[in-house]
Symmetry: C2
Subunit: 384 residues, 2 copies
């Protein structure tokens, strides 16, 4: 039995495609424009009559539009946030209309580096413009307009999804009743930039990368695998790794004194690295990490307080105690700036040993926090 038979699963879902009618209206931060933009998205639950129950979920680096449910009855693996989205779950699909789209520059159905450039008939590769979190949000706004939703009940995302949620709150100050940034930051730290750059170098050093022109030859899988291995380490915590792997060896009892990677933590990372190359595009990894690096709301608006000045959203900010990639102090900076502007904000630092990955794993406490926040938003929204 897979989770599909679970009564709490949304069941079979499908990915929809939306094509922007006027992509030239999207002025990208880098100054360029795209002549064609497609967006892959999924929706769960039903939009109510007054269209007041829509929740936009925003995914992280390696996620996609498939946030919940299964693509077929044979499908073994549900969407990436299936533990949080479905009937009776945190984002209860009996009550809410949940939307999730692959972001601009992604490789899961939305236009990105591995899409065909209509002007050349070939993949963009590194000729794709460097897109920003703001650009991604602009495209999401087009999708919400297309779905004829005037105001979202909430926007919510973890990690890079949280950056998009914050960007929504400042760029479309009256478009979301509630904003839920989880395990995220308003300003990417130099530590994160540095780690991203190591991952990018690993990809770009791979001779198969070939300046991004590998779509008709061999992909730079070895480089992408190293980048993913490093990424994965940063999503865990020291404690999580001690609990999960310790210093256990994979097969042998005695040290082998070789370079095959005999510790369990090594084989785990090898597996994570290799399997990632089967579902992700190396150029996209470069673009997405770069979008994160450039994310800095304080810079864009001269200060974080200025950024939040006009927002009319209420906030629930969540951080995890052992997250060292986006540590709680970064969430507190968001909270402090919001409080300085007299915005309504609740902050919750959840205790967890899972590190950054906690936003994907700690459903119980997140559900408690978020479902209450959503209920309060509903009351407020409908009483208006």
């Amino acid at each position: 039995m897979n989770d599909f038979d679970d009564n709490n699963s949304i069941g079979i879902v499908r990915t929809n495609k939306f094509v922007l009618s006027t992509p030239e209206n999207i002025a990208l931060d880098c100054g360029e424009k795209l002549s064609h933009i497609e967006v892959a998205y999924e929706t769960y639950g039903s939009l109510n009559k007054d269209k007041s129950n829509a929740v936009l979920i925003l995914h992280a680096l390696s996620g996609d539009a498939h946030a919940a449910g299964f693509h077929s009855s044979e499908d073994k693996k549900p969407g990436w946030w299936d533990n949080m989205i479905g009937p009776g779950k945190c984002f209860d699909t009996r009550k809410y209309y949940v939307i999730c789209s692959n972001f601009l520059g992604g490789c899961k159905g939305t236009t990105g580096s591995n899409s065909i450039n209509p002007k050349t008939g070939k993949e963009y590769g590194m000729s794709f413009p460097v897109v920003s979190i703001k650009d991604m949000v602009k495209v999401q706004k087009e999708l919400i307009d297309f779905l004829e939703i005037k105001k979202l009940l909430a926007v919510c995302g973890g990690s890079m999804g949280g950056m998009q949620a914050l960007q929504w709150s400042v760029d479309y100050s009256d478009m979301a009743a509630g904003v839920i940034p989880i395990a995220t930051t308003a300003t990417l730290s130099p530590l994160s930039i540095a780690l991203n750059e190591v991952g990018r170098k690993a990809i770009m050093n791979d001779p198969n990368w070939n300046n991004g022109n590998y779509y008709e030859s061999i992909a730079p899988d070895a480089g992408l695998a190293v980048a993913r291995m490093l990424g994965h380490i940063t999503y865990l915590s020291d404690e999580a790794m001690r609990n999960k792997f310790g210093r256990r060896l994979q097969k042998n009892e005695e040290y082998r004194y070789d370079f095959e990677g005999e510790f369990q933590v090594e084989s785990y990372l090898h597996h994570q690295g290799t399997s990632f190359t089967k579902r992700f595009d190396a150029n996209t990894y470069l673009y997405v990490t770069k979008a994160m690096d450039y994310f800095d709301l304080s810079r864009e608006y001269s200060s974080l307080e200025k950024a939040f000045e006009t927002t009319r959203s209420r906030f629930l900010v969540i951080a995890f105690s052992s997250d060292w990639l986006f540590p709680p102090y970064q969430a507190k900076e968001i909270v402090k700036a919001l409080r300085t502007c007299n915005k309504e904000v609740s902050y919750c630092e959840l205790s967890s040993s899972y590190g950054h990955d906690a936003f994907l794993l700690e459903e119980k406490h997140q559900t408690l926090m978020i479902s209450h926040f959503l209920m309060n938003l509903e009351e407020e929204y409908t009483s208006k």
Copy 2:
């Protein structure tokens, strides 16, 4: 004026070479033996009449025998711990006879992967045996015997040097009056193993690595540079990087939206990576990180308490608050085990924002702690 003119410099020093007369007596942990072992070492100060003032300094991953002073009057850069070793400094060369040797498997004069295998007349490359911290210490013991020192006043090292110091204390339980492990651990964590493996993969993925056979062609500099970039990140701290680089751009004021690495933290790491390739051997990086991975005193002696049971040394254990590679809790595990066995141990957690690198930078507080510890040892040693 360089530091050479400083009165506190030990001045010009030279690296000596010691050749083991019976290298076959060194039974390596992996089961192999080496037919020839050379050791590069330096000494500063003078050995006193009763040979009771010798301090052995043990270096970390990228260090070498050149711990203090200059190799010539034109030399711009002193040894790696020059701020701690010299007349009037922490390891006061007017009082102590300071010894530092490049460890077995190193690439700075002691036999290692890039040395000539006498049996083939060519560099060992990956045919070099996988050496352990214990093996390194065995070779250091030969050097100390050769110098006709019966008992060291102290052994001291930071990071991987601290591992060697701990190994000294358990393998030669009466050979050092004092042991000073700094910013280190008795058991490498899975997080550190994971990070080491990412670095190794980056090297081994480089086509120039060629299974370690690159000494007559082009070295895998790109891979080694990535490994070093990652290493360097782990030596700093989130706070140190925010203080040192923030999100400052290198030259431009506006984002360039490209992949050249425009943040200062990126150019710093590029520079660190590239310059490292000029002074370090890629195969050696593989061997040295592997020696660290295998380091686990609890495993070797069934428990950490058992490991320390017979030692007759006194300990000063130092950790740094922001060190996330070898966090203070790992130092406390050493301290706890020593206390359980009723050994004399002082523990000091120094507050520093420098991360793991603090052991190289925080000379003031370390000097205070260590110089007092050494003075007490002297009194005890000479009163015996």
